[in-house]
């Protein structure tokens, strides 16, 4: 196969051509209430070709992996129609490598009956909780083998395994419906989603607790975010804006996002990196064959670097960071986050809340989105903080901020970094991409909260 691919890449008058082939096997299991609603297996074989000529791109995706040479030719012809300038693409030394997935407990080796027994147990815990109306459980595992080759001579095979599990407890009383979810994932180790009985039980009880909780009053508050929600916050509030494809052709945004600009106080360090190992966003090479790195987006409050593909790096005259990722062969790689987090400092949780007279403690995530400048992120759980103490439970809150203001409003960072592996990131049509986010507890001295 390697020779066949290499031959297809030869003799085209293009600045750059790459071929990606992918074999994917996946299992999905869905429960709704006491019904095991869906259990299914999928298999997929496909690929794509991407070509660059004079700054213009052609992209061809297919399921039939025969006649690769014709597909290369089609992509090259498309690129030729588009390209009218000069191609800029970071230089890369050719690499030949085979990367296998080394996994303790590979989900593909775990029998369906074993998986079902585990989820039955979690489901029974949720459904046996009084006032719980129903439950949702969604489990996915996948094993992908990706073969990548470029006209520069790079040839890489990578095998990636991914697991995600989302559990939700739905409580209902007097026409009110409330829910709490729990999302987990791992880079293939099935044991990461075992032994959650106690967490699942607490989740179900919290969902019931929400039925009698009041809604927050809308307005600006001092908010404290737990590590999970702060991870979503850093992903939405800053991570997306550091993706260079938003910036590289936008002169005005470049002026705003100039390296060296101050975004926060000295205590603020924000990192992204697939080279941080063992997390859902970790890998050895990105989908352009660039080695993974660890990138300081913000160091001591100052914008230090951003996330790049080979094209955005070359156009901006910066170094590639190995952040070009494609969710599957149907799409070209675009600039994406990997594992994104705020580095820990020294404060304990008590230090952070002790001098707050009135505020909101928001925990766990439900979702998040951004327009780059303004962003929202929602908590699964929230409490009032009164005179330095956690007070009554509130209905889940949606928080919102402005990137140019809110990062500077972070006035306390805790010592308890935790990474959350349950998230999936969406950008353009490519969702959900495995990523992880994390942070210690953080305090934002003014944040907008939606409410009654």
């Amino acid at each position: 196969m390697q020779d066949k691919i290499a031959n297809s890449l030869k003799g085209h008058n293009a600045d750059y051509v790459e071929i990606r082939l992918e074999e994917n096997k996946a299992t999905r299991i869905i429960y709704r209430g006491n019904r095991l609603e869906e259990i299914g297996r999928t298999s997929s074989l496909g690929g794509n070709v991407r070509a660059l000529i004079k700054g213009g791109w052609g992209f061809v995706s297919f399921n039939n992996v025969n006649k690769l040479r014709d597909k290369v030719e089609l992509a090259v012809n498309q690129a030729r129609l588009v390209g009218k300038e000069t191609s800029k693409f970071s230089r890369l030394e050719p690499v030949t490598d085979v990367v296998t997935a080394e996994i303790e407990k590979n989900p593909t080796a775990v029998p369906l009956a074993y998986k079902k027994k585990l989820f039955d147990e979690y489901n029974d815990i949720i459904l046996s909780t009084p006032k719980i109306q129903t439950s949702n459980i969604g489990y996915n595992d996948s094993q992908r083998k990706i073969t990548f080759a470029s006209s520069e001579g790079t040839y890489i095979e990578q095998t990636k395994v991914d697991i995600s599990l989302r559990l939700a407890a739905i409580a209902s009383e007097d026409g009110q419906v409330q829910q709490i979810g729990l999302s987990l994932g791992s880079q293939g180790d099935f044991s990461a989603i075992e032994g959650l009985q106690e967490q699942v039980k607490q989740m179900a009880h919290r969902a019931v607790g929400l039925l009698s909780a009041p809604q927050a009053k809308g307005g600006e508050y001092i908010v404290v975010l737990d590590p999970v929600l702060a991870g979503v916050f850093v992903h939405e509030a800053f991570g997306h804006l550091s993706e260079a494809d938003h910036v590289y052709e936008n002169k005005r945004l470049q002026d705003i996002m100039v390296l060296g600009r101050k975004f926060g106080d000295k205590h603020l360090n924000i990192v992204d990196g697939a080279a941080v190992s063992g997390l859902r966003g970790s890998y050895k090479y990105d989908d352009e064959g660039v080695s993974a790195s660890k990138t300081y987006l913000i160091r001591e409050g100052i914008l230090e670097s951003r996330l790049h593909s080979r094209e955005t790096a070359a156009i901006m005259g910066e170094n590639p960071t190995g952040n070009a990722r494609a969710i599957n062969y149907l799409f070209p790689p675009i600039v994406r986050m990997t594992n994104t987090y705020i580095e820990p400092r020294i404060l304990s949780f008590e230090d952070i809340i002790s001098d707050i007279k009135e505020g909101i403690y928001a925990k766990d995530w439900y979702g998040g989105t951004t327009s780059l400048e303004m962003f929202t992120f929602s908590a699964a759980e929230a409490y009032m903080i009164c005179n330095g103490k956690i007070a009554e439970l509130l209905r889940p809150v949606v928080l919102s901020g402005n990137v140019f203001v809110t990062l500077g409003n972070i006035d306390a960072i805790g010592n308890d970094l935790q990474m959350n592996q349950g998230g999936g990131c969406g950008k353009r049509e490519q969702s959900p991409l495995p990523v992880s986010n994390g942070s210690p507890h953080i305090r934002i001295r003014s944040c907008l909260v939606g409410g009654s």
Partner: protein
């Protein structure tokens, strides 16, 4: 497909094979100029079989041996849910127009020209705007056969055009956008250009709004980004069956404004969400979900309908797995008030054009809360400018219980929703400026 059906019949009592093939050519403009041309061809084959009374499922993209696909499905059967339905075998399907032969005549040059004209028209209005646009033409073919002799197939042509623009002044970003999709190749950039230019005009200056409840008008985009997600989940037959819908015991009750109507309609000619049959081979239909403000019907697939002792409404849709109830096109009934008359009626209020994050609250309870990505302030019957750093929060059942007015100007948005503007008397607004 026949091979797979024959193989599976040897080991299972009942079988269905579903196949969808598509060929789509999108082109993308970035930073005001053409950046990429794509060509995407894909084929997906799914098998659903019933063995020992239980449902098994497997799916393959790309080549797979029929035996392997059948084995994969059989493996899942032992754990599958008990099948409560029969595969359909209707003698006739409604004739729904979903294919326009003109799609084949659209060239890449036509699409490039269209994108260039669209961007030029908008930059003629606002020269500093940075534009992204996508134009796509495609064809999809769906084919379903089952062991009960049922067979259905249809072709669909798809044409879509989308625009997003960003205008940056200092640290202020303004996002505008619109899109259009149809089975007809609509080679006219003007409707999108006009909508975007209208947004740019209304957002020319920034104004502040205070934190308090005010009257709100949702434009068609505002309806799509604020109110639709909770309604879609509440009318989903599966959530009703689970008891997770707020409407589970409200059938027949008038809980919405008596002038409010909502239909699910998969029969509208040349709409991208239309089809002669759903993904299980059930004929398409128009279903009234809200009729004169009363909860009239929920939407179902075969299995959910059987469990709920009712009939499928032809809303079985596949999202990479087994069919599940999903809306086709949604249509909100039009009223008799113009947008202009709504604005004139408001002393201090807000127009919501785009809301972000609204789907991330507790939509099961009907709650929505989000950041106003694009919205305009009304003062003394006039739109005075754009508001930002502002959140709105509300509950869809309270908002739709009594509407001040319903617009007379429905418009298709997001390819699946036909809606007029909706004017509600009071919604909670929180603002950083206020």
């Amino acid at each position: 497909m026949e091979d797979i059906l024959a193989q599976a019949k040897k080991v299972a009592e009942r079988v269905e094979v579903f196949q969808v093939s598509s060929k789509v050519t999108p082109i993308h403009f970035e930073a005001n100029r053409l950046k990429q041309i794509q060509d995407k061809e894909s084929t997906r084959t799914a098998i659903r079989l019933i063995k020992g009374g239980k449902v098994g499922f497997a799916q393959a993209s790309g080549f797979i041996e029929p035996e392997t696909l059948v084995e994969m499905a059989v493996e899942t059967c032992q754990f599958g849910m008990p099948a409560k339905f029969d595969f359909p075998n209707p003698k006739v399907y409604p004739k729904i127009d979903t294919f326009d032969l003109q799609i084949d005549a659209v060239t890449i040059d036509d699409m490039v020209e269209l994108g260039e004209q669209l961007i030029a028209k908008i930059r003629q209005h606002t020269s500093d705007i940075l534009c992204e646009a996508s134009i796509s033409r495609g064809i999809a073919s769906v084919h379903i056969i089952n062991s009960e002799g049922g067979e259905a197939s249809y072709n669909k042509s798809l044409f879509s055009m989308g625009f997003e623009g960003v205008l940056i002044k200092d640290e202020d970003m303004l996002f505008v956008g619109d899109s259009h999709s149809s089975c007809h190749p609509a080679l006219d950039f003007r409707p999108i250009a006009e909508e975007v230019i209208k947004q740019l005009e209304l957002a020319k200056r920034n104004v502040s709004i205070s934190t308090k409840p005010v009257p709100v008008i949702f434009t068609p985009h505002g309806v799509a980004s604020s109110l639709i997600a909770p309604l879609v989940s509440a009318f989903n037959g599966k959530l009703v069956l689970d008891g997770a819908s707020s409407l589970k015991d409200k059938l027949g009750e008038q809980i919405f404004d008596k002038n409010f109507f909502l239909w699910d309609d998969s029969t509208l000619p040349y709409q991208v969400a239309s089809y002669p049959c759903d993904d299980e081979g059930v004929p398409s239909q128009r279903t009234a979900l809200i009729d004169n403000g009363a909860v009239s019907h929920f939407f179902y697939d075969l299995q959910t309908a059987a469990l709920a002792n009712t009939q499928s409404t032809g809303n079985g849709s596949r999202h990479g797995g087994l069919p599940t109830p999903s809306p086709s096109s949604l249509v909100i009934g039009k009223g008799d008030t113009s947008f202009r008359d709504m604005v004139v009626d408001i002393k201090e209020g807000l127009v919501v054009e785009f809301l972000i994050g609204a789907e991330q609250g507790n939509i099961l309870n009907g709650d929505f809360s989000g950041n106003v990505l694009l919205g305009y302030k009304i003062e003394n019957g006039e739109i005075t400018g754009r508001v930002k750093d502002t959140m709105v929060a509300g509950n869809v059942y309270q908002v739709l219980k009594q509407l001040e007015a319903i617009g007379n100007d429905p418009r298709w948005v997001e390819g699946f929703l036909l809606t007029p503007c909706l004017y509600c008397s009071s919604l909670s607004v929180a603002s950083r400026a206020g």
